[in-house]
C-alpha cells in the first residue's frame, strides 16, 4: 500500500508531463519549423533572382558595348586591339565583311578566315546578337561571342572571356557548403562549371525537376511559376535531395539553376530544434519525476498517519479484469497513432521510412501489450518489474522511430542520438527478464 500511492502519483504526474510536454513541443516545433523553412525558401529565391539579374545585366552590358564599338564606320587592327585591351571581358575583336571573311582583327593571324557559316555572323548581320555558349574549333575551347552590324554591311564580333561569366555563377556567397548555381541551355546541357562537375561543360545533361520546370518556362513572357512552386525539393544530377530554384535568362534561352542540399539548410536547423526538443522533454520529465517522487512520499506519510481508507489500486484492478484481446486492440491503435503522430513531424505518413518503422512499430505494439499484460500478473514484484521494463522499452521504440524518420528525411545524424534510447531499451529488457524470472520462480 505504501509503494502504491507514491508509484501512482509518480506515474500519473509522469504521464501527464509526458503528454503535456510532447503536445507543447510539437506545436512549438511545427511553428518554428514553418517560420525557418519560409526564411530558407525566401533566402534561396532572393539569391536566385540576384544572380539571374547579375547575368542579365552582364549580357546587356556586352550588347551595349558592342553597339557603341560598332558606331565606328571603319576599324583598324590597332583600334580593335585598343578596344579589346580596354575591356577586360573581350579576348578577341574582329570585323567580318558582308561575305563573312575577317577583314580586320585584334589577332592578325585570323585575317582572311571565312566565318560565313558561323552563327554570330548570320545573326549579327540583322542586329546585335549574343551567341549561346558554344565550342569554338578555332580556339579549341568553350566560347561566347557578341556581334552587331558595323559600317557598310560588315559585322563586328567580340569574343567574351567565359571565365567572367563563370565568376558570377560560381560565387558561393550565401550558399553554404553544398549550394551551387549553374547555367544550362534549352537542350539541358551544362554551360558553366557546377560545384561537383567542373569539366563537363556542353557534355553533362541536367534532367532534374528544377531544370525541366525552367525549360518549360523558356519563351514565355513572364517569370511567374506555373504548375509548380518557386522552390522545389528534388533529386539533383548526383541523386542527392536538394532544394532548388530557377530563373530563365530572358533573350538568350538559358536557365539559371540554384540548388542546395536540403540536409544542409533544413537538416541543421531541424537537428538543432530536435536536440532542444529532446533536452527540454528529458529535463521536464526528470524534474516532474523527482518532485512527484518526494511529494508522493510526503502524501503517503500523511495518508498512513490518518489511516485513510480507499481503493488506490482501483485502476490496476480494472486493468487486470480487461481481456487480453482488448489490450491487443488498444496496443494496435496506440501503435498506429504513434506512427501517424511521429511521421506528421517529418514528411507525412505517405513518405515514411516504412522499411525502418515496421519492425519498430511491431515491437512497440508487443511491448504495449506486455505493459498491459503486467496487470494480469499475480506476483506483485513481477508486475512492477515487467511494467517498468515494458515502459522503458516503449520509450526506446518511440525514440528509435523518431530518429529513423529524421534520418529518412534529412540524412544521417550522429550515433550519439541513439544512445539514450538504446540504454532505455536494454535496461528495460533486463528488467523484463528479471520480472519474468519472478513469475517462473
Amino acid at each position: 500500500m505504501k509503494m502504491k500511492l507514491r508509484t501512482s502519483i509518480v506515474l500519473l504526474c509522469f504521464m501527464l508531463a509526458l503528454i503535456g510536454t510532447i503536445a507543447h513541443t510539437y506545436i512549438n516545433f511545427q511553428t518554428t519549423n514553418e517560420v525557418l523553412t519560409e526564411e530558407v525558401y525566401e533566402h534561396l529565391e532572393t539569391t536566385t533572382q540576384s544572380r539571374a539579374h547579375h547575368i542579365e545585366h552582364f549580357i546587356e552590358e556586352q550588347k551595349n558595348k558592342i553597339l557603341i564599338a560598332a558606331t565606328h564606320q571603319e576599324l583598324s587592327n590597332e583600334e580593335l586591339k585598343e578596344i579589346r585591351d580596354t575591356n577586360r571581358e573581350y579576348t578577341q575583336m574582329c570585323v567580318l565583311n558582308s561575305n563573312g571573311k575577317i577583314i580586320a582583327c585584334s589577332e592578325e593571324s585570323q585575317i582572311g578566315k571565312d566565318k560565313s557559316n558561323d552563327d554570330y555572323f548570320i545573326e549579327g548581320k540583322n542586329g546585335v546578337h549574343i551567341t549561346g555558349i558554344y565550342f569554338s574549333k578555332t580556339l579549341g575551347d568553350i566560347a561566347l561571342a557578341v556581334s552587331a552590324p558595323q559600317g557598310e554591311g560588315n559585322v563586328l564580333v567580340a569574343r567574351i572571356d567565359i571565365n567572367i561569366l563563370n565568376e558570377i555563377t560560381t560565387d558561393r556567397t550565401g550558399l553554404g557548403k553544398t549550394g551551387e548555381t549553374y547555367l544550362i541551355n534549352k537542350e539541358s546541357l551544362l554551360l558553366t562549371p557546377s560545384r561537383f562537375m567542373i569539366n563537363n561543360i556542353l557534355v553533362q545533361e541536367v534532367n532534374t525537376v528544377n531544370a525541366q520546370n525552367c525549360i518549360n518556362e523558356l519563351g514565355g513572357n513572364t517569370t511567374e511559376h506555373t504548375g509548380h512552386n518557386a522552390i522545389t525539393s528534388f533529386l539533383d544530377y548526383r541523386g542527392e535531395l536538394v532544394l532548388g530554384a530557377h530563373h530563365y535568362i530572358s533573350g538568350i534561352e538559358w536557365c539559371l539553376l540554384v540548388e542546395i542540399e536540403e540536409a544542409e539548410v533544413l537538416g541543421i536547423v531541424k537537428e538543432k530544434l530536435l536536440q532542444k526538443f529532446i533536452i527540454s522533454v528529458v529535463i521536464i520529465l526528470l524534474l516532474v519525476f523527482l518532485i512527484s517522487f518526494f511529494v508522493g512520499g510526503y502524501l503517503e506519510k500523511i495518508y498512513l498517519k490518518k489511516k485513510m481508507k480507499g481503493n488506490i489500486s482501483k485502476f490496476g484492478k480494472i486493468l487486470s479484469k480487461i481481456k487480453l484481446k482488448y489490450f491487443l486492440i488498444f496496443a494496435l491503435i496506440f501503435t498506429i497513432g504513434c506512427f501517424f503522430l511521429i511521421t506528421s513531424f517529418f514528411q507525412g505518413w505517405q513518405n515514411a521510412a516504412f522499411y525502418d518503422d515496421i519492425p519498430d512499430l511491431l515491437a512497440l505494439m508487443a511491448f504495449v501489450s506486455l505493459l498491459f499484460f503486467s496487470f494480469h500478473l499475480k506476483n506483485i514484484h513481477a508486475r512492477k518489474f515487467i511494467f517498468i521494463g515494458a515502459l522503458f522499452s516503449i520509450i526506446d521504440r518511440i525514440l528509435q522511430t523518431i530518429l529513423e524518420e529524421y534520418i529518412f528525411a534529412f540524412g544521417v545524424i550522429s550515433t550519439t542520438y541513439w544512445i539514450p534510447g538504446v540504454i532505455f531499451g536494454f535496461i528495460g529488457w533486463i528488467i523484463i527478464f528479471l520480472g519474468f524470472i519472478e513469475v517462473v520462480k
Binding site: K323, L324, K325, Y355, D356, I358, P359, D360, L362, A363, M365, A366, F367, S369, L370, F373, H376, L377, K378, N379, I386, S414, T415, T416, W418, I419, V422, I423, F426, W429, I430, I432, F433, F436, I437, V439, V440
Partner: protein
C-alpha cells in the same frame, strides 16, 4: 573505422546479450524448462548478431529489418509464457 559512439552502442548491446544469455542458459539448465526461457535465449542471440553488425558499422536497412522483426515474435512469445506461468491467460 568504428566511431566512439558506435562502440558504446555495440558494447551496450553486447553486455545486455551476455547478461541475458548467461542467466537464461543457467535457468534453462537449472529449472529444466528450455521452452519457457527460449525467447530470452533467442533475444540474446539476436543481440549478439546486432552488436557484431554494429562493430563492423553495418547499418544496412534490409539486414536490420530482419534483425528487428524477431523482437515482435519474442515479446509475444514471452506474453504467452507469462500467461501460462501466471496460471491464467484470459483469451
Amino acid at each position: 573505422m568504428i566511431s566512439f559512439w558506435d562502440t558504446i552502442f555495440a558494447s551496450s548491446m553486447l553486455i545486455t546479450s551476455i547478461i541475458i544469455f548467461w542467466i537464461s542458459s543457467l535457468k534453462m539448465i537449472d529449472k529444466k524448462r528450455i521452452l519457457v526461457f527460449l525467447p530470452f535465449f533467442l533475444s540474446a542471440i539476436v543481440l549478439v548478431f546486432s552488436s557484431v553488425l554494429s562493430f563492423y558499422s553495418i547499418f544496412n536497412q534490409k539486414i536490420w529489418f530482419f534483425m528487428e522483426i524477431p523482437w515482435f515474435i519474442i515479446v509475444f512469445w514471452i506474453i504467452i509464457n507469462l500467461g501460462r506461468e501466471n496460471g491464467r491467460i484470459r483469451n
